[in-house]
C-alpha cells in the first residue's frame, strides 16, 4: 500500500499547520457548550476561545459534535 499524492499533501498540510499549543478533544469538549452558546448568541467565540476554534478546525469528530450541538440548542432555544 502506498501513500497517494493527496494523502501526502494532506499530511504535509497538517504538519505545516501544527502548533505547539493545540488543545486535545477533552479540553475542547469541556468548553464546547459555552462556545456553542456564545455562537448562538451572535458573539464571536472564536475570538474569546481561539484554541477551541483551532481544535474544531482540525478535529472532524469534535467539529461534527459541535455542529450537532448547535442544531440541538437551536431547537431548545438556548442562547436566545
Amino acid at each position: 500500500m502506498k501513500l497517494s499524492t493527496d494523502t501526502l499533501k494532506n499530511m504535509i498540510r497538517a504538519i505545516k499547520m501544527t502548533r505547539p499549543d493545540e488543545i486535545g478533544c477533552d479540553d475542547c469538549f469541556d468548553q464546547l457548550s459555552e462556545f456553542a452558546e456564545l455562537k448562538l448568541a451572535g458573539k464571536s467565540p472564536e475570538k474569546a476561545m481561539p484554541l477551541v476554534q483551532d481544535h474544531l478546525n482540525r478535529c472532524g469528530d469534535c467539529r461534527e459534535e459541535f455542529e450537532a450541538l448547535l442544531e440541538a440548542l437551536k431547537e431548545l432555544k438556548v442562547g436566545i
Binding site: A14, S33, L69, A72, E75
Partner: protein, 243 residues
C-alpha cells in the same frame, strides 16, 4: 332523515369534545415545558443530585430527546425516534454520573446536551465502522499488526533510475523522515485517520486508548515531523506547491 342529522350532530359534538380535550392537554404540556425552561442551573443540579428527582429526570430526558432529533436526523436513516430515545437514556446515566463536574460555565441544558450529542454520534460512528477492523484495513491478520504493515504503508512510488527530479528527491526525504521519526503506534494512527479516513472515536477505541490520548499522539507526531523537516531545510509550503 332526522335521525341521520342527529347522529351527525352527536358526531360533531364528540369531535369537538375530543378537539378541546387534545387542545387542553397540549396547552398544559406547553405550559409545563415553558415553565421548565426557567429552571436555573442550581435548580437542575440540586434536583438531579442524589437522589435524583424523578420529575427532573423526566424533564431532562424530554429535553434531550427534543434536541437530539434535529441534531442527529441526517445521520440516521431509519427509526430515528427509537435511536434518539436510547441515546437519551444512555446519556442520562452519564449526565447523572458526572453531574458534580458541571461547573456552570454554560446553561445546564447545554452542558447535558453536549454529552448526549457526543453519545449519539459516537454510537453512530461505531455502528458505521463496526464491521471493519483495523486488521482488515491493513490487509492482514488482526493479530499480526506490526512493523511490517507500517513500513509498507509509508512507501511511495520508488523513483526509477532516470527519475531524479527535485520533487521526487524531496518526497523521498519526507518519507524517510516519517519512516524514521514516528513510532509504530503513530504511523498506525496516522494511517487509519488520514489514509482510511476513520473517525478519531473509532480509531481510539480500536487501538484501546482514549480519544484525547489519540489526538495527543498524532499531535506529537506532527510536531516532531515539523521540527525535523525544518532541521533538514524542507519547507512544507514549497513542497505543497510542487506536489
Amino acid at each position: 332523515m332526522n335521525k341521520g342529522i342527529k347522529i351527525n350532530i352527536l358526531d360533531l359534538i364528540a369531535n369537538m369534545a375530543l378537539f378541546i380535550y387534545v387542545f387542553m392537554i397540549n396547552w398544559f404540556k406547553r405550559r409545563k415545558q415553558e415553565a421548565k425552561s426557567y429552571r436555573t442551573n442550581e435548580e437542575w443540579v440540586e434536583s438531579l443530585s442524589n437522589p435524583p428527582d424523578e420529575d427532573a429526570v423526566d424533564d431532562l430526558r424530554r429535553y434531550l430527546i427534543r434536541g437530539l432529533k434535529p441534531a442527529l436526523y441526517k445521520y440516521v436513516d431509519r427509526e430515528l425516534d427509537q435511536f434518539v430515545e436510547d441515546v437519551a437514556q444512555d446519556a442520562l446515566l452519564k449526565i447523572l454520573d458526572k453531574i458534580d463536574t458541571f461547573r456552570g460555565e454554560s446553561k445546564f441544558v447545554s452542558w447535558a446536551m453536549k454529552i448526549a450529542v457526543r453519545e449519539g454520534l459516537s454510537e453512530l460512528r461505531r455502528k458505521k465502522w463496526q464491521d471493519i477492523s483495523i486488521g482488515d484495513l491493513a490487509g492482514s491478520d488482526p493479530e499480526e499488526e506490526g512493523s511490517e504493515i507500517n513500513s509498507e504503508v509509508f512507501a511511495i512510488d520508488d523513483p526509477g533510475p532516470d527519475d531524479t527530479t527535485h520533487e521526487k528527491m524531496m518526497l523521498k526525504k519526507v518519507m524517510g523522515i516519517i519512516e524514521e521519526e514516528l513510532s509504530e503506534k503513530q504511523k498506525k494512527a496516522i494511517m487509519l485517520l488520514m489514509v482510511q479516513g476513520m473517525p478519531v472515536t473509532v480509531v481510539a477505541e480500536q487501538m484501546g486508548v482514549t480519544r484525547n490520548a489519540l489526538y495527543k499522539l498524532v499531535h506529537d507526531a506532527r510536531l516532531n515531523l515539523k521540527k525535523k523537516m525544518g532541521a533538514q531545510g524542507i519547507d512544507p509550503e514549497k513542497m505543497l506547491k510542487q506536489l
